[in-house]
Amino acid sequence: MTDRLLAPLHAIGTYFILMGRAFASVREVRTYWSNFITQMVRIGVESIPIVALAAAFTGAVLTVQTAYQLQTSFVPNTIIGSIVVPSMMLELAAVITAFILAGRVGARIAAELGTMRVSEQIDALEVMGLNSISFLILPRVLAGVVMFPALYIFACLIGIGGGLGIAEAAGLLSTTEFIEGARQFYQPFDPYFGLIKSITFGFIITSIACYKGYYTKGGAEGVGQSTTEAAVQSCVFVLLADLALAVLLL
């Protein structure tokens, strides 16, 4: 009974100690720099196509459905732009990016570190005298924190572009109307709120995946379990953080 109660606390404690140890070595740039660059490519650059695809479709679907919902009302067409653009900036660009990357990046990190753990590669790093946490975890989390905002920005751009494109192509409203509507309700804080979200999500996804991977136990099955848990739990915590940020910052 106490075990069941203590297990989550133990996990939370281990997770935060792991992150603390990772960031304690943030000055040992030499240890993680090359990994940092590699991970920025894997987490960030290589994710651009899938994020762009998802964002374009999200923007397009959102525009078409908003137009559909508003078709019989008396509000001007520009309102479609006023709904689509802030929705993308505030919520969808960040959350869609996070969900895709929870699968793509989170699972990959967990599987990679999990395999390294069960094949004793992490032990090998340690006995060489290398700080495995600084070498493996810090560059991945930092790469997430740096590259997620960049992906978020691209998702915004492409998502709004997708909305604009479908609006023009389907004759729902003109680009001018769309932009006018977007500007009418534009809040300067919107994109910055999205950026804050994406940084948070980047940290959550990479750090949970690192935690799951780093503490993988027991062979191939363990790696599979870690990978699944990393993807699922980072999605859950992304949603929780999304709500928390909305409540705290808006």
Binding site: I37, T38, M40, V41, G44, V45, I48, V75, P76, T78, I79, S82, V85, V146, M147, P149, A150, L151, I153, F154, C156, L157, A182, R183, Q184, F185, Y186, Q187, P188, F189, P191, L195
Partner: protein, 309 residues
Amino acid sequence: MNYSNEVKVGLSIVLAVVVLIVGVRYFQDLPIFSSSYLLTANFENVSGLSAGNPVRLSGVNVGTVESVQLQQDEETVRVRFRVNENVLIPEGSMAEVRGFSALGGVRLGIRPGPSSNPPLQPGSIINTPSGPGLLDQLTQQGPEMTSKVDSVLDNTSRATGALANQMEEGGDLQQTLASLRNVATTLESVSGGEEETLRSAIQNLETITADLQSFTSENSDSLGVTVQRVNRNLTRLEQNLANLERTTAALGSFAEKINEGEGTLGRLANDPSLYNNLDSTSVQMNRLLRDLQENPQRYLEDMTLVRMF
């Protein structure tokens, strides 16, 4: 082509930063590459205006509202907004909230002041239609205006007094004045001219009053500008009266010289028509000036605002 990882990462981040900057400025409706400046306006009520709403000058988007802050201690709402660098807003312009938030069309409109006015400096406060700023300015400038009017009337009375003295101390006035044909002609033309100036001065005042009236009724212009104009007109009136005083003094010195019996003037002293002429002129003049002294309100009747003080 194969680029190194560093190049890929660098390119992505640089692109993202550029998109962010350009995008944010684009949606704020700011020119993407030139900069903007900040102005402040204080409102009693902003009717739902919020950050990000457009700023329009004569119906053209020229900037964005940056922040709307409630100043509870001052019971005003401070609105800070950005205006494109290349748009100059003259002093005396007015900011007002237009549109209805329910229809989504709230914006900050700017009614431009006289284009001859210097442009507002970045960071300065722009006037608003019914804010406390208006009355503040009136009460500040009021006493100054009253004292100016006072001093104008003072000068007038002094000038008249001087003229009267000269008339009385003239000695053999008939002879003296009779000998003043040339002088009289000069004086006539002078006083005629002054009369014209006075009339125009009073007309000016009437215009000012009209301006003020239209200002309060239509809120068409900034009070600051009006007050400046009134000041300018009063200064001119004051200068006119100073001229009159100087003329009177000159006349006095002439009369003295005649009293001392200086040559050619004797010959001029025997022409009664000249005297009559001069007499009627000076009587007219006297009447006008006394009237102005005693009943200034007749001339300033329409200055309803001035009477307020």
